[in-house]
């Protein structure tokens, strides 16, 4: 149902942009802006670069829509994904060239980690609340899995639990984290 509704909405947006409707461009941006940013952030682990990717992606998508280059209005999402990935590749190539020229002086790489990309104050507090009631073995699992990057079979052997138990632990903690994060961001 969601997919059908999305496809219908996308077709309407595409049609209106082709007609020069500015509100349609705003609607397009509101619908896909966060996704493009998340995609770029997931790939580059840099908020600044993700912002650049988002801006460049929407610039190219709008140009393409205005010029009626989208073959199927129902595939707007995959089209934006393709454009965003092309922008990212270009940026990575450009960044590599820059690094090779002035790597030490410019330090363009910065802190490109998952933590720097996705952590904010609310996320830290949400995790703190979610982990508060955890048993030592459950906390050990989180540390071994996400920080030491051990496999689940390895952790299961080390902690003496079944792998299925690890999935349940993660699912439970993640749910508590989500609830805490929502509460913190909505307040």
């Amino acid at each position: 149902v969601q997919e059908t509704a999305t496809t219908s909405l996308d077709a309407e947006i595409v049609a209106n942009i082709r007609l020069g409707d500015a509100s349609a461009e705003t609607a397009l941006y509101e619908k896909y802006s966060a996704r493009v940013y998340f995609l770029a952030l997931s790939e580059l682990h840099s908020k600044e670069d993700a912002e650049d990717v988002r801006a460049e992606t929407f610039l190219r998508v709008l140009q393409a829509l205005r010029q009626d280059q989208l073959r199927s209005p129902g595939s707007l999402g995959p089209f934006i994904v393709g454009v965003a990935l092309n922008v990212i590749r270009e940026q990575v190539r450009q960044s590599s060239k820059t690094q090779s020229l002035d790597e030490k002086e410019l330090n363009l790489t910065g802190d490109r980690s998952l933590e720097s990309a996705f952590i904010d104050a609310e996320a830290s507090r949400a995790l703190e609340e979610a982990a508060r009631g955890l048993k030592p073995r459950e906390r050990e699992f989180l540390r071994m899995y996400y920080y030491e990057e051990l496999s689940k079979p390895e952790i299961a052997r080390a902690l003496g639990v079944k792998e299925e138990r690890l999935r349940l632990i993660k699912s439970r903690v993640l749910k508590r984290f989500r609830e805490s994060y929502k509460k913190l961001t909505s307040g």
Binding site: L114, E115, A123, A131
Partner: protein
């Protein structure tokens, strides 16, 4: 055409987590990106999971998820107090010492058992040898006894035969002694009376029989015969006791007339004379 990713597939393959951790293949990655561009729920879940994993990493790096902290808190009332450490160390040390002592005792016991066993075997061997030696000696003695007995019986038989063949001969010494006048002297202190000796005519000598204690310390005895007026008429030296334990002192009958005499007996040892007794004697010559 690429197939669209389903929620079931996303759930079963843990696609969201693997996407955040960059563990998907490029095709899977692209498929999931296209999926969450159309799916609000998966986009929200992916974003949340990315925040969650990032936060978990940061907390782990900061030590907030260190199990030791939790464990210390949980066990602070008991293990955290630390009193058990010296007790545990002491117990472990005592156990080690005890184990060493037990092993040492066991080894000593084994060594002593071996030593005792070899000593016992040596004793058994020695005792068996001694028994054998004793048996051999006993057998030899018994054989000699049998041989001696046989020899004695043979000699006894021979002696009996000789005695039967030899005619009986008169004992001239006893006969002679029986014809010689004699008298047994008793000490004048012990005797109330005086010893009397009848000397028939024709007697050549008389015998004065003086009993002496058996096993005395004298090599020989000397007897002196005095008249009543203390004139020495004879001294007989070198007298030794006969088989009946008496001294047979022979005095020529010619020197004795009828009358009273006194006889003194001396014990002789290493040339020294010791007066042992005096006897009174009355001689009646016929």
């Amino acid at each position: 055409l690429k197939e669209a990713m389903t929620h079931r597939e996303i759930e079963e393959k843990e696609i969201i987590e693997r996407y955040v951790l960059h563990q998907l293949s490029s095709d899977e990655r692209r498929a999931f990106q296209e999926h969450y561009f159309e799916c609000d729920e998966c986009f929200e879940r992916a974003h949340t999971e990315a925040r969650f994993i990032a936060s978990a990493r940061k907390a782990s790096a900061a030590g907030a998820l260190a199990p030791t902290n939790e464990a210390k808190k949980a066990a602070a009332s008991f293990w955290g107090a630390g009193w058990w450490r010296p007790v545990l160390a002491l117990s472990a040390t005592a156990s080690l010492v005890l184990a060493a002592v037990v092993i040492w005792l066991w080894l000593s016991r084994t060594r002593l058992q071996t030593q005792l066993e070899s000593e016992r075997q040596a004793r058994q061997t020695s005792a068996a040898g001694a028994r054998q030696s004793i048996d051999n000696t006993q057998n030899e003695i018994e054989a000699k006894l049998r041989q001696s007995e046989t020899e004695r019986a043979r000699l006894q038989q021979r002696l009996d035969e000789l005695e039967r063949r030899q005619p009986a001969r008169p004992n001239h010494d006893l006969i002679a002694q029986a014809r010689i006048p004699s008298v047994t002297l008793e000490s004048s202190r012990d005797s109330s009376g005086i010893a009397q000796l009848s000397v028939p005519a024709g007697a050549r000598k008389v015998l004065l029989l003086i009993p002496v204690e058996p096993g005395n310390r004298f090599a020989s005895f000397t007897a002196e015969v005095f008249t009543k007026s203390k004139v020495l008429i004879d001294s007989i030296a070198g007298v030794r006791p006969n088989r009946s334990g008496s001294l047979a002192v022979s005095v020529p009958a010619a020197r004795l007339g009828s009358g009273d005499y006194r006889v003194r007996l001396y014990g002789v040892n290493q040339g020294q004379h010791e007066l042992l007794a005096e006897y009174d004697l009355r001689v009646l010559k016929k």
